[in-house]
Amino acid sequence: MKRFVYADNAATTKISDSVFQSMVPFLTEQYGNASSLYSLARESRRAVEAAREKVAKTLGAESREIYFTSCGTESDNWALKGTALAMGAKGKKHIVTTAFEHHAILHTCQALEKQGFEVTYLPVEPNGILSLDKLRAAIRPDTALVSVMYANNEIGTIQPIPEIGAICKEKGVLFHTDAVQAVGSLHINVKEQNIDMLSLSAHKLHGPKGVGALYLRKGIRIPNLIDGGAQEMGKRAGTENNAYIVGLGTAIEEATALIEEKTPKLIAMRDRLIENLLKIPHTRLNGDPVKRLPGNVNISFEGIEGESLLLMLDMQGICASSGSACTSGSLDPSHVLLAIGLPHEVAHGSLRLSLSDMNTEEDVDYILQVLPPIVERLRSMSPLWERIRQQG
């Protein structure tokens, strides 16, 4: 029987009921401007600060180190452009990042290159993990910042963040991590892991779209990205988005509290999908089998193209994504899949299924029932598949 399966939680997630309920008062009666003086406003202020406390607690940070932003992308832009400006003035105009970062980092780096900064894009290993030796070798006396994502959004690989933090600390270089995919799925402690700056977003953890945060370790002074009023301790102007900030607070608290309970369930579902999908011939798992997010499956089916696969899955009620060129909006397939060494034609046939704690074993059953015949059907009409089969 046909069912609806949402398996694109790395793209965005459904708002949980409790998150939604926590937001409602601030979209209705509790509309006071958090920066105003009267009692209506004081309640907004209290709620915003309670949310800040929740975010700080999740990260092992202090409240005054958390700044609310409009999204993960804004946090990334602020961290990178702000650091570049501050450190560039001291003659440090080199940034180290990886080739498989999210575009929020890559395109920000490209913008900085146009302004005279030099960026090293480190390659990643075939399993989708950054080599610490390569990182160490890339850091120079004029390096201002290292930015490495906590977990990759496409192939789910978890980077050796504490080790990277330690190297940066030893070398005296600032360390930023885009943790948009990791927060709420993995335990993060910015102090123990030597993280100086961290970007996060609410909508990846059953929170609303349009709100994120930047953790900025106290003592680090970077210029503002958004200038205006004195909100966010004078660091990020714009009237506080009370309802969404409250939603972020509720979502991050819930997601983090559930880590122990949901992780084994997610890993079981993930690994059952991977194990069974790999039984299809000429299929490969992209990214490390163990060091990956609990809900991430990324598989390439040789001989077929990702967009047609997604369209057929959608007809069966399954939402997923792909790294094919046709879905990336460019002529090239996903830069992440190319960075781990996949040939173009194998990258075109990739499928990402990303699960959340709202998925069930029945969803997995359904995917495993529907997906193999679709692969079979597309291969039966593919001249590329014919070639692959002839080559053995």
């Binding site: 077929i304 193209e305 047609s308 369209l311 007809m315 173009h344 009409m381 593919s382 590329l384």
Partner: protein, 146 residues
């Protein structure tokens, strides 16, 4: 990106998909690097396309344009089939998103490539009749209509 109902219909229920064992003209364009390959099989009798089948590796638009192109040339004379343009394929599909126009070009070229093959098999130089086949080349990337 939105596909028209017609595109979705031809994608979900492609017409003339498969192979023709007794084809006397077979043409293939595209390459795996670009993410689309189209192969057309023609059975030509008395200067007419008596039967046509296709196999395609590619996105939804690649499959839909292949399917539509086969429908548009089936039963036609070679002269008529050679007049098939990508614009006609797009129109018959009630439009394509701009980034997918190159799929319709590939479909048009795949038909021409199969007709070329037919003439070549007969010992006739196809170039003056069919013209140059515009194909993607791996080294140069996708040049067609992108």
């Amino acid at each position: 990106m939105m596909y028209s109902e017609k595109v979705m219909d031809h994608f979900a229920n492609p017409r003339n998909v498969g192979e023709l064992p007794d084809a006397n003209g077979v043409g293939e364009v595209g390459n795996p690097k670009c993410g689309d390959i189209m192969r057309m099989y023609l059975k030509i009798e008395d200067n007419r396309i008596a039967d046509v089948k296709f196999k395609t590796f590619g996105c939804g638009a690649a499959i839909a344009t292949s399917s539509m192109a086969t429908e548009l040339v089936k039963g036609k004379s070679l002269e008529e089939a050679l007049k098939l343009t990508n614009a006609a394929v797009v129109e018959a599909l009630e439009g394509l998103p701009p980034v997918k126009i190159h799929c319709s070009v590939l479909a048009e070229q795949a038909i021409k490539a199969a007709i070329s093959d037919y003439y070549t098999r007969l010992g006739i130089d196809p170039l003056p009749i069919v013209g140059e086949i515009r194909d993607c080349h791996e080294e140069e990337g996708c040049g067609i209509g992108h």
